[in-house]
């Protein structure tokens, strides 16, 4: 069945909400330099200030403006979401499709690797690796992707295997189409919704993962992150500093919720009943 994805998502209220929230967060991140009156990293003498006209969300223990850190933190989160999401989706799709089309020993190696990654609790592995490497943004994206593609690859492979046997692929072969034509004109376009869903899923997971690692204090301390903010805020929770604690938590929730809504909407649209639940 031919689906016009844009039109269908437009009619889906969850999808619309997700898109609006994500757009809002992206806008904040994008215009952060304009919005922020203070540098997000420069400490000041005004420490632990209560929200006021000059510091909308107050300041932290070393006098950094919380609002500035919040919107710059959005940059980090979204960058990692986009980077890790697309990298994971790409690796998963690439390995899944390769396994399905190449078959043989290649398929065996890829799928056994996926199985191994599936049985290892990858959160633990990522924490260990991150604790050891103290990764910056790029390295973090890589780590999340390298330990996150397996479920995705399995789903894509199974779908590609069934697509490969479809009559319209056989028809293209009967017109003399080579493997590359079939891959780019039939298999990848048909897998595209699946790849998009996996992108959204992994983007959400990356946001969560980055914040979690930062919260645990095992990421690069130079990176402005909501997780780090939460961690620091909790250290001072005896001061009743809700203005410090709530904004990063809320921002994190909004971002994750926006991805979740978008993911739900996409799944409803595609209805492949193939939600990537096992990563």
């Amino acid at each position: 069945m031919h689906i016009n994805y844009v039109n269908t998502i437009k009619k889906n209220s969850l999808g619309i909400t997700g898109i609006l929230l994500l757009f809002f967060m992206s806008l904040l991140a994008f215009i952060a330099p304009v919005l922020a009156q203070y540098s997000p990293v420069e400490p000041s003498t005004q420490t632990l200030a209560f929200p006021s006209a000059s510091h909308w969300l107050g300041t932290n223990d070393i006098g950094q403006d919380i609002f500035s850190r919040l919107i710059y933190g959005a940059r980090t989160s979204l960058l990692i979401a986009a980077g890790a999401g697309s990298l994971t989706a790409f690796i998963g799709a690439f390995l899944g499709i390769s396994a399905a089309l190449a078959g043989g020993i290649c398929e065996k190696i890829i799928m056994r690797a996926a199985d191994i990654l599936l049985i290892i609790p990858n959160m633990v592995v990522i924490i260990l690796v991150a604790a050891y490497l103290r990764p910056g943004i790029a390295a973090l994206i890589l780590v999340i992707a390298v330990f996150g593609w397996q479920g995705n690859a399995r789903v894509i492979r199974s779908q590609a295997l069934s697509l490969k046997e479809r009559a319209h692929v056989a028809a293209a072969k009967a017109f003399g189409a080579g493997n590359l034509y079939i891959l780019f004109k039939h298999i990848i376009p048909d897998l595209f919704p699946l790849i998009t869903t996996s992108f959204i899923y992994h983007a959400r997971r990356a946001v969560f993962m980055e914040a979690g690692l930062a919260f645990l204090g095992i990421s690069d301390p130079a990176v402005i992150s909501w997780g780090t903010m939460l961690n620091r805020a909790l250290d001072f929770s005896y001061l009743n500093n809700w203005y410090w604690l709530i904004p990063p938590g809320a921002a994190l929730s909004i971002t994750i919720v926006s991805f979740t809504f978008l993911g739900y909407a996409l799944e409803e649209t595609i209805d492949l009943r193939l939600g990537d639940k096992n990563a």
């Binding site: 069945m1 031919h2 479809r166 009559a167 319209h168 056989a170 028809a171 293209a172 072969k173 009967a174 017109f175 003399g176 189409a177 080579g178 034509y181 039939h186 376009p189 048909d190």
Partner: protein
């Protein structure tokens, strides 16, 4: 008896006959057929020495070249040794003389007999040709066409010639008279050499010992009469046969494209031939021996496009194809019939290379298809059984029909679009922008089926394998599509393997039928023969179940398991004997068919065994 060597003839420098080599033998009928204008009558008149024009070569009779003889010498031969029954009944008879006198005239003219004896002989001749004696005194206008024809035959026989030429003896008479005349010619042929000129192919078939097919002043095919009309090997002969309605062929009439033109260089038939190659425009083919007959064709007659030898295919435990042979000639339709599960689609997929056969060879256009490249698929196309699935949901009508052209990289975008539109119009679909933008789920089953057909035809393939292409269409559209396919076959020589379970449809469109059952070819033969004389019990049962307006309904037993080493139809066959469950039958040639059934075994014991067992006895397996 009479030998024509390298005979050329032209009227005022326009050649009419070119390079004719023929010989007539005693007690033999040689039929000369071909479209009008082929030069048949000219050849006859040349033998009679009745032509004035430029002739070269020789016509040798009794050791003398008739062409070199002066008219006075020819006079001795004409009517005494060589006589002719003319085509034009009215023109050949003098309206002011009685027919008796006209029959007597040659005898008296050559002073062979006295008047009395001549009268006596005339009466005998009238009796010989089946006319009452009293007709001797009738005038030509008193006689009907058939009677005039008989008078002319009597006249030709009057001096008891050795060579007798009949020019269209049956074209002006009704079917009953035709048979009478055929009988007379046959009787006369016992001690004479007969040259029978006719465009009536059935007369030629019934009478001719040998037959020559002429086209544009040349002989295209020469062979024994029985073979030439049953299995034509020259594209022109096949074209002639296809345009000729008979009760023994069932396929719809097809003509020969184009018209006869004077061609200076190369094969005279090149402008109408569907299997022409570059050489055909350069070299003139001469009659050459090809498998028991002479054919004037640079390609050796109708070429074989596709051959499958001993194709095996297994799916796990089940054997889908048990060594099937298949062949397809240029411009031919082969119907593959049989119930579902008989291996029809698997065979098609094996030929297309979509399934890899486990054994056997597939030869396409003379080359074994081990490695399949893109080029191959320009000429070999398949219409899939389930059109809705074979069209991607992401492609609209235009993209779908253009896809083969995109894959083969033929033409620019606009050319591709034009080709796609043309293909759509050919299958009676709209080519409007609105329709081109529709998607498969917007369309009806019939429309999708036609898009699938258009898509397969957009590459102009030489061979089209169509898997149930019309089964989802209503009858009126089916008729249109089938006519389109036959038209393409007529014009471009499209060869088709038509897979269908609709045997009534197969009857109308196919030249040959292959009946498949349980992965085996159980019967193969010309469509007309299969319908007239189905040999395999399964074919007979299948014919009973074919759609018709008869009040009786036939039922077939449902298929049961088929053990190895037995006949595939043994469990359901009403005629099965013990041998049928013990031994897999070999292929036997019966008439024009090949049948895999013990009933036709040359081994007497096996036949008896199969036939003698109780017919109602059901074989339990």
């Amino acid at each position: 008896m009479l030998e024509i060597k390298d005979f050329n003839f032209s009227y005022s420098n326009s050649p009419v006959l070119r390079g004719i080599n023929l010989n007539l033998k005693k007690s033999e009928i040689l039929a000369l057929t071909g479209e009008s204008g082929a030069g048949k009558t000219t050849l006859a008149l040349a033998i009679m020495g009745l032509l004035s024009g430029q002739a070269s070569g020789s016509i040798i009779y009794e050791g003398r070249n008739l062409l070199a003889l002066p008219q006075t010498e020819l006079w001795n031969y004409r009517w005494n040794k060589i006589s002719m029954v003319f085509q034009d009944l009215e023109g050949a008879l003098n309206p002011v003389l009685t027919v008796g006198k006209q029959v007597m005239e040659p005898m008296l003219e050559h002073r062979l007999l006295s008047i009395e004896k001549a009268k006596e002989k005339t009466k005998k001749l009238f009796k010989y040709v089946g006319l009452p004696e009293g007709f001797c005194s009738a005038y030509p206008h008193n006689l009907s066409g058939g009677e005039k024809q008989r008078v002319l035959i009597a006249m030709a026989l009057s001096n008891d010639p050795e060579i007798l030429i009949f020019d269209e003896p049956t074209s002006a008479v009704d079917a009953i008279t035709r048979l009478e005349i055929i009988k007379i010619i046959k009787k006369a042929s016992q001690n004479k050499a007969i040259l029978l000129i006719t465009h009536d192919l059935t007369t030629a078939y019934q009478l001719a010992d040998r037959a020559a097919v002429m086209y544009a002043g040349r002989i295209m095919e020469l062979g024994t009469g029985k073979e030439i009309f049953k299995e034509p090997k020259h594209p022109y002969t096949r074209g002639l046969l296809r345009s000729y309605p008979t009760l023994s062929t069932t396929k719809d009439l097809q003509g020969i494209p184009g018209k006869q033109e004077i061609i200076e260089r190369g094969c005279p038939f090149q402008n109408r031939c569907t299997q022409k190659i570059a050489d055909c425009g350069k070299k003139t083919p001469r009659l050459k021996q090809f498998g028991g007959r002479q054919i004037a064709c640079l390609r050796g007659g109708i070429v074989s496009l596709l051959e499958g030898e001993n194709i095996f295919k297994k799916f796990g435990e089940t054997t889908a194809l048990k060594g099937v042979d298949i062949s397809l000639a240029e411009g031919e339709t082969l119907a593959l019939v049989g119930e579902s599960g008989s291996g029809k689609t698997t065979l098609a997929k094996c030929i297309m290379g979509l399934e890899k056969p486990d054994g056997g060879k597939i030869i396409f256009q003379g080359k074994e298809t081990k490695e399949r490249n893109k080029e191959l698929y320009k000429d070999l196309q398949l219409v899939f059984q389930n059109p809705r699935e074979c069209i991607s949901h992401r492609l609209n009508v235009l993209e779908t029909v253009m896809e083969p052209l995109n894959i083969q990289r033929i033409g620019t975008f606009n050319e591709r679009k034009e080709n796609a539109k043309k293909a759509l119009k050919n299958v009676e679909l709209s080519a409007s922008d609105q329709f081109l933008g529709m998607y498969a789920h917007h369309l009806s089953g019939g429309e999708i089926q036609r898009i699938a057909i258009a898509r397969a035809l957009v590459l102009n393939p030489r061979v089209l394998i169509a898997d149930e292409p019309t089964s989802s269409l209503d009858a009126s559209i089916q008729a249109k599509i089938v006519k389109l396919l036959l038209k393409l076959q007529e014009e471009k020589g499209l060869a088709m393997i038509f897979i269908t379970h609709d045997i009534a449809l197969a009857r109308k469109i196919s030249d040959r039928i292959v009946v498949l059952l349980g992965g085996e070819k159980v019967e193969e033969g010309p469509t007309g023969e299969i319908f007239a004389k189905p040999r395999h019990p399964y074919t007979r049962d299948l014919l009973k179940t074919a759609p018709n307006f008869s009040p009786e309904t036939a039922y077939l037993k449902p298929p049961k398991n088929r053990p190895e080493g037995a006949c595939v139809y043994a469990s359901r066959c009403a005629e099965a004997g013990e041998i049928c469950i013990i031994k897999r039958p070999a292929i036997f040639k019966v008439g024009m068919q090949k049948v895999r059934c013990h009933l036709y075994s040359r081994n007497e014991k096996e036949v008896l065994h199969a036939v003698n067992t109780n017919r109602n006895h059901t074989v339990s397996l």
